[in-house]
């Protein structure tokens, strides 16, 4: 595969599926969106020659984005307190006007979960099956089931508190 072909694929994937990447970024970091976006794009770029079309593009991208986000979060925790590496000004910013309050709440709740549970929640909300989640995250289907049960209960309980406090 030539570099030009690789770039064309990357541009096409970004055009069609960048919303998916933004969801992962929003769930994994409240602030450094640009850094994580950059990191995911680099990983997606490297992964293109190994994409064999055995999985759908969205599944492939979710797998890469989630794994990158998990690694990135761990690395960030380790280096917490260190200054930013550069001051590159990026061109994307969160569309705050379009963000529904309840959606913002949901993202906040997802962010409070641990790294693996965040991935499970995102994939659950995106409608992936236990089998697909298990393959993407490298955990057993039964483990996925246990996590989903727990996450659903937790989100429902938190949503009740949210409703009762009249934030809506």
């Amino acid at each position: 595969m030539t570099e030009k072909e690789q770039l064309e694929i990357l541009e096409e994937w970004l055009m069609l599926h960048k919303g998916l990447i933004f969801k992962v970024i929003r769930a994994y970091t409240p602030a450094d969106h640009d850094d994580l976006f950059q990191e995911i794009i680099i990983q997606v770029w490297h992964s293109i020659p190994t994409f064999r079309q055995e999985a759908s593009v969205t599944t492939w991208l979710y797998r890469i984005a989630l794994n990158t986000a998990i690694k990135w979060t761990k690395k960030e925790k380790k280096h917490a307190g260190a200054g930013p590496l550069d001051n590159i000004q990026h061109l994307l910013q969160e569309n705050k006007t379009a963000m529904d309050e309840r959606l913002a709440w949901l993202y906040d709740e997802i962010y409070k979960l641990d790294e693996i549970d965040r991935s499970v929640t995102l994939l659950l909300l995106e409608g992936y099956s236990y089998k697909e989640m298990s393959a993407m995250l490298g955990i057993s289907e039964s483990n996925v089931g246990v996590k989903i049960n727990r996450i659903k209960k937790l989100l429902i309980a938190k949503s009740k508190k949210y409703d009762n406090h009249g934030i809506r």
Binding site: Q93, E94, N95, L103
Partner: protein, 190 residues
């Protein structure tokens, strides 16, 4: 809220853009690119004016002090002065035309593309300008009776300058192409 409702909240975001273009950051980037192309165009213009003036002065002085009365050297010097006038006139036109562009994102981008296009054209013309200059210098050497030695040196130096000019102009062409691609993307997204 039941989980189905939470899922509906989640799904609703698919109809809205999660991220928008940071117009201020984009504008800063375009302004910085514009500054870059203006700086390179300025350097080229002043470089051409100074080098041609200096070279023409040297040629006239040599001719006068050595009493060579070599007509080709005067022609060469006149050609160089004409080049200086040409560059200065075009520079002046370029600077005055910059008022056409407003300070919006599109205005700055159009200005940057206009300067980059001007720079590419100027560099091409100046590159081809080396051919008559080289030819006149060879005739000058011929008249002075030093054809072989002088012609060889002149040919090598002008060929080198021509090659460097062509290579250098590729950077200008690439810079202009980047700006045009950015404009196409902005227009497609508008």
């Amino acid at each position: 809220m039941e989980f189905d409702e939470i899922k509906k909240i989640w799904d609703a975001q698919n109809n809205q853009p999660l991220y928008v273009l940071d117009e201020q950051a984009l504008h800063h980037r375009i302004q910085s690119k514009k500054k870059g192309v203006l700086r390179y165009a300025n350097i080229s213009e002043w470089g051409l004016i100074i080098v041609n003036l200096f070279a023409a002065g040297v040629l006239i002085s040599l001719n006068a002090f050595t009493h060579a009365a070599n007509v080709f050297m005067y022609i060469e010097a006149a050609w160089m002065f004409a080049t200086v006038v040409y560059v200065a006139a075009h520079r002046s036109r370029r600077v005055s035309s910059s008022r056409r562009f407003d300070r919006s994102i599109h205005g700055d981008l159009d200005h940057a593309i206009s300067v980059a296009t001007y720079h590419v054209r100027l560099a091409r013309i100046m590159n081809w300008n080396l051919l008559p200059l080289g030819a006149i210098m060879i005739f000058s050497g011929w008249e002075a009776g030093k054809l072989l030695k002088v012609a060889a040196v002149i040919l090598v130096s002008y060929a080198l300058a021509f090659y460097v000019g062509i290579k250098g102009n590729r950077v200008n062409v690439r810079r202009r192409r980047e700006l045009q691609v950015l404009k196409e993307k902005l227009e497609a997204g508008a």
